[in-house]
Symmetry: C2
Subunit: 361 residues, 2 copies
């Protein structure tokens, strides 16, 4: 097991990375301050790992509550139902919530922890690659609204993150691939050496090789922890983590959050960001080719289907959370391994970039 520390003063916490951590009762117990523990999970993950985690927490006689798996559950309705279950079970300010699952479980449980009785402890136990390398680390929590993803939420840090790469053995290949998108992102924005490692080990990652996965999770979390420690509330540098995400969120929204996985949309979004960087004279054609090749080798989409309209994407991008006072901010690349935030990109240029990524082009 390896341990990283996210350095945020009295809100700092460890990220544990290893195999078969799910069963390690002592790891959880170290971070439970009260007597009540509630395990929150979705229907799929609960069936796979609920019993093991409940067993590891048996000293606390944990209650388990679950909701239907999928992004469509990430709503205020699910949040309200979970809150009412805590109320019915007389959970008080001393309760610790354990979020067992992927990004949806972590985000909604984190938001519940941030707001139940104005804030209770929670522990992240991410079981998807995407959650292990991204959503479980850094304290972004929230739910979706019909008008956009994560529009209601809070910055709220867990007491620890317990990333068990063994849990990835049951992850559907499509979700593993989606998680690789975020792994690639870290290399692209901050660490060309790590990107080269990903290029060399992409087949091992996709085959579910545990040692490769541990390496990828560790370095992804290392980069993320560095960025978050420097800018917890995304006043500046943290925005780099959104490479491909403004495009990606718009793709997800345009397709009703049901067709594309987040990582898939981010994969194509990074292709668009690379093309935009090239059009802005920041990145040469070879670098764009290198990036697109890796994203394609990972099995991620690199072309926009005709069913998604350019005007729709532009409109959805303008409503993105990263817009500040009407100024749209986008992450582009100054070089492979070096992300940068830019403002004032024209709608005409964005439109050209999007059209340039269409199928057939």
């Amino acid at each position: 097991m390896k341990t990283l520390q996210l350095d945020l003063g009295d809100r700092g916490y460890p990220i544990y990375i290893g195999s078969d951590l799910l069963d390690c009762g002592a790891l959880y117990a170290k971070h439970v301050r009260g007597r009540q523990v509630v395990l929150v999970s979705d229907s799929t993950v609960s069936a796979l790992y609920g019993r093991r985690v409940a067993g590891a927490l048996s000293d606390f006689q944990p209650v388990s509550i679950t909701f239907a798996a999928g992004e469509s559950s990430k709503t205020l309705d699910t949040y309200a139902r979970l809150a009412d279950e805590l109320i019915d079970r007389r959970c008080d300010r001393g309760v610790t919530l354990v979020a067992l699952g992927g990004g949806v479980v972590g985000d909604i449980t984190g938001f519940l922890a941030a707001t139940y009785h104005r804030g209770v402890d929670f522990i992240q136990v991410p079981t998807s690659l995407l959650a292990q390398v991204d959503s479980s680390v850094g304290g972004k929590t929230g739910v979706n609204r019909p008008g956009g993803k994560n529009l209601l939420g809070a910055f709220y840090q867990p007491r620890c993150v317990l990333a068990d790469t063994g849990a990835l053995r049951t992850l559907p290949r499509r979700e593993l691939v989606a998680g690789v998108a975020e792994v690639i992102k870290y290399g692209l924005i901050a660490d060309v050496e790590f990107l080269s490692w990903v290029e060399q080990h992409i087949d091992a990652l996709l085959a579910g090789d545990d040692s490769a996965l541990q390496h990828a999770v560790y370095h992804s979390c290392r980069i993320k922890a560095d960025v978050v420690a420097a800018d917890e509330r995304e006043a500046g540098r943290r925005a780099l983590l959104n490479l491909g995400h403004t495009f990606g969120h718009a793709i997800e929204a345009a397709t009703g959050y049901s067709e594309w996985l987040h990582g898939e949309a981010v994969g194509l979004g990074m292709v668009m960001a690379a093309q935009l960087s090239c059009r802005m004279g920041k990145l040469d054609g070879d670098s764009v080719h290198r990036i697109v090749s890796l994203i394609e080798r990972a099995g991620l989409p690199v072309r926009l289907p005709a069913s998604i309209g350019t005007a729709d994407l532009l409109r959805l991008m303008a409503g993105d959370k990263k817009v500040l006072d009407g100024r749209q901010r986008l992450v582009v690349l100054d070089a492979v391994g070096q992300g940068v935030v830019v403002e004032g990109v024209s709608q005409g240029l964005l439109s050209e970039v999007i059209d340039g990524c269409r199928e057939g082009n």
Copy 2:
């Protein structure tokens, strides 16, 4: 105009207290960092003061959104509707919300500010005495659930509080009286000299005398700001502000949050807390008499009606937010002007205290 500073480092802010501050555009402008301003209010206050405040904010061309007045609006449904209005109007992370109204408006707007795009700026413009002396200061925000008040929320501080005592001229007498309950509370927990002043000026306060109101608001906010600065997230001393509130919340819940105003329930709750303090040997009979007399002179209820059952109150008290890890914490008085938190009060004693406060006893 007088100014107090709530000292919370980079989350600290000024509390402005005076007459006719509502129109003072420069005061608002000092605390608006972006270009978008949204005025949130309820139907009653919006009709009275919406136009004046919108006028003072005219440089920002504020949008106004309102909801039906009353505690029954303090729900996740109202919160979701307000959020969707912000989304529809393309409000981004640079928006400043202005909460114009009483406690319900401040609490729900504060929660919206805490969570919209994971946190935007907001300004409190409290228009009830209760909101001016209590709920607008200190960053407690939230909404109710069927199982209890304020069970979902956040600690989230405004950029400033603008308490215009002139706005109290239109406040219904019953609500003015309810606000006086919290004014009395500050004297009881922390400042016997201020309590004596309240005893001497209770008639002026109830008559709406502006100079008396400004004095009461100023000193109430001074005491609250001191307590909150020492313990923002209620790990210890801040719990003193809940004198009478565990009893009071249970009374409100037992009557469906519709019959009793919060301040009325707190008034009777403080009578119960005083009686409990006496039964615990902390307060003598004369002090209890002094406290009950003042609460009665203020026009607040000091007797529990037969329609509210003791067992129901005890059950509701056990679900209170101040319960930690199953241990019920209550605020009692070591002396007039000196609150203290105690644990482990027996259900039998609580039952006797409640029955002792019944009509006819």
